[in-house]
């Protein structure tokens, strides 16, 4: 979908106006209805005002559509401070004639009523502002303050309707904000008057973490994304994450990349992971999941590609130190800029913040491999379903950018062998399972490939050692239809060296 046109013609008639807000144009499939009002409703503090401000400022800067902002809530100074918090200089834009800010306050202690009136004054001010800068966009924030300042609600309702018609007549693309109501969408049931587009925004605190969400509940004459999309409000403004809208339409690659472990490549169709595929490495504690991940990071950087390593349990230094203990020096890669180690605890932010932060890192760093080690901790910040949605969004994003991604996840020792936490194994193309078996008074590490979509792969469980030169996968002993492991394997190899194949000798004896 090309979003280069300023206004997009869709279904023959409906014109849309790009907001310029990251993600919102994707969710609405091309922006808000052009020349028409859109209702944005939400609770106090959910970001209605900043959404409106960003819509106007982006319009003025990016699409050369000057905008009028009328606030019933704040004075001009506060509006300027708020806008500055997301990086906009309203004073400068006003000076250049791109933005016109007007604030209206109705102090009902100061105001009495005697006889009939209308809101012609508001229309006159709006008209004056629109003409002064040749505005194409209007933001009105929030209409409820008008309702709390004045008591004649029937009159206000009809005047509100008149305002909407006025905006349409003038061909202004507008956002009108309103407070969320308890029973209806808005407190004063204003959604009944806006027929074209209604956007609901929401912020909830779940597990002590704030999550913001946006949802297009109505968009007449246009299809739109129907989910609740998490969004982020930070110094760069609003970012809505419509990543699921990529869906399953990405292209896949036939190329492979090395796992960094020679024998593991052999087990995976002699070649390694598919480019742009997802790899899950699961296992109980201490089975060597991070080592498998580090091999991939090392091999990627050695090839001259970029790798993003998101550590949620260890600091960057610790990752480097641990890598050194298995014979990899990652420090030069960090210095070259081939490897970026980012450490943060999942509980530091909400889900949507993680999503956005990862999104930004991916866009900015453009890695070919991403490692998330481990993803288990994310279950602390959301339900299984939410985490699955988070992973799905991330995976869609990575697949669309042909990024190979590897995730490690910790299994509890009492869980069944194939329990992958958070039910994400279905999202994975390749699943490597690591075990720690106690046998004959010795722990043996085992590695098996549970699945690897689109390639033939080894079905064996292989023993491996973690040495100071990295992971060493041992040859499986497959003589005579028995696979042996660990100490037994070593003993048998020794016996074989001394006596030849014990099994065949035994068989010989039996035959005699």
């Amino acid at each position: 979908m090309s979003l280069t046109n300023q206004r997009i013609q869709q279904d023959g008639k409906l014109l849309k106006s790009l907001t310029g807000i990251k993600g919102l144009d994707e969710v609405t499939f091309g922006g808000l209805p052009a020349g028409r009002p859109t209702l944005v409703c939400g609770n106090p503090g959910c970001g209605k005002t900043l959404l409106t401000v960003e819509f106007l400022v982006r319009g003025a800067i990016e699409y050369n559509e000057p905008g009028v902002f009328i606030s019933f809530d704040e004075n001009k100074e506060d509006i300027a401070i708020n806008a500055a918090s997301i990086g906009f200089d309203l004073a400068d834009l006003s000076k250049k004639g791109k933005i016109f800010v007007d604030s209206i306050s109705i102090d009902h202690n100061q105001v009495g009523v005697s006889g009939g009136y209308d809101l012609e004054g508001l229309f006159i001010r709006l008209d004056y502002a629109v003409n002064a800068i040749g505005a194409k966009r209007v933001g009105i924030d929030s209409i409820d303050s008008l309702f709390s300042g004045l008591t004649q609600h029937n009159l206000l309702r009809s005047e509100f309707k008149r305002l909407l018609n006025w905006l349409k007549e003038k061909g202004l693309t507008a956002i009108v904000t309103a407070e969320r109501g308890e029973r209806a969408l808005t407190r004063n049931r204003l959604e009944e008057y806006i027929a074209d587009c209604v956007i609901l925004i929401d912020h909830r605190v779940e597990r002590q973490i704030l999550t913001r969400r946006l949802c297009v509940t109505k968009y007449r004459g246009s299809s739109h994304g129907t989910n609740e999309y998490p969004f982020l409000l930070d110094s760069n403004g609003i970012s809505v994450l419509p990543v699921t809208s990529i869906g399953l339409e990405y292209k896949v690659s036939d190329e492979h990349i090395s796992t960094g472990i020679a024998h593991l490549d052999t087990m995976l169709d002699e070649k390694g992971y598919f480019c742009g595929s997802t790899v899950l490495v699961s296992g109980t504690a201490g089975t060597g999941k991070t080592s498998v991940a580090l091999h991939l990071a090392n091999a990627t950087c050695a090839r001259g590609q970029r790798c993003l390593y998101l550590a949620s349990e260890e600091s960057p230094h610790q990752v480097i130190r641990n890598a050194r203990s298995i014979g990899m020096d990652l420090e030069p890669f960090v210095k070259q800029g081939a490897l970026r180690l980012v450490a943060s605890r999942p509980t530091s932010f909400g889900i949507e913040t993680h999503l956005v932060a990862t999104h930004r890192l991916i866009n900015e760093f453009a890695p070919s491999v991403i490692i998330m080690d481990p993803i288990t901790n994310y279950s602390d910040i959301g339900s299984e379903n939410e985490i699955k949605m988070l992973m799905m969004r991330l995976i869609d994003l990575m697949k669309a950018s042909n990024i190979t991604s590897l995730y490690t996840t910790l299994n509890g020792s009492d869980e069944s062998l194939y329990t992958s936490s958070m039910g994400i194994s279905s999202l994975m193309d390749t699943w490597i399972f690591l075990t720690n078996n106690e046998y004959s008074g010795e722990r043996t590490r085992g590695l098996s490939i549970i699945k690897s979509r689109g390639m033939s792969h080894s079905n064996q469980t292989r023993d491996f050692l973690i040495t100071d030169k990295g992971i060493k996968i041992l040859d499986a002993y497959t003589g005579s239809g028995i696979t042996t492991k660990g100490g037994t394997y070593q003993w048998m190899t020794l016996m074989r060296k001394m006596l030849g194949d014990p099994m065949s000798q035994w068989r010989k004896r039996l035959n005699q």
Binding site: G112, G115, G116, Y117, D118, G121, L122, R125, D127, L150
Partner: protein, 109 residues
């Protein structure tokens, strides 16, 4: 403050500004209602300025006007606004502090 109130009783002129928009029925009614009330209650101790926002829209900003017609009392303090065509005389008198002050004026006589 006390001194001011005292002077209100005797010398102050009511500074009134009436915002209208063109020659609408409400605007015309408001103008005639205001003239009538002032004549009757303020003994020509008043000044009325009628602002037509149709002609001078930028003036709507100075008194933060939203509704039409709006009557603004700038003096005596405090600033008060009365929305509407001023057909409810009692509300206008309360809004402009007229009744109270003329009473005290009478008593002082």
């Amino acid at each position: 403050m006390a001194q001011e109130t005292e002077s209100i009783g005797n010398h102050t002129t009511w500074q009134l500004r009436l915002y209208v928009a063109g020659q609408t029925l409400k605007s015309v009614t408001a103008i005639s209602n205001l003239n009538e009330i002032c004549e009757k209650h303020l003994n020509s101790k008043y000044k009325i300025e009628v602002v037509d926002l149709r002609r001078e829209p930028q003036l709507a900003l100075q008194d933060d006007i939203v509704a039409i017609p709006t009557l603004v009392k700038t003096l005596p303090m405090p600033l008060r606004k009365i929305l509407g065509d001023l057909s409810d005389t009692d509300n206008v008198l309360v809004g402009l502090d007229i009744e109270k002050i003329t009473k005290t004026h009478d008593e002082s006589k």
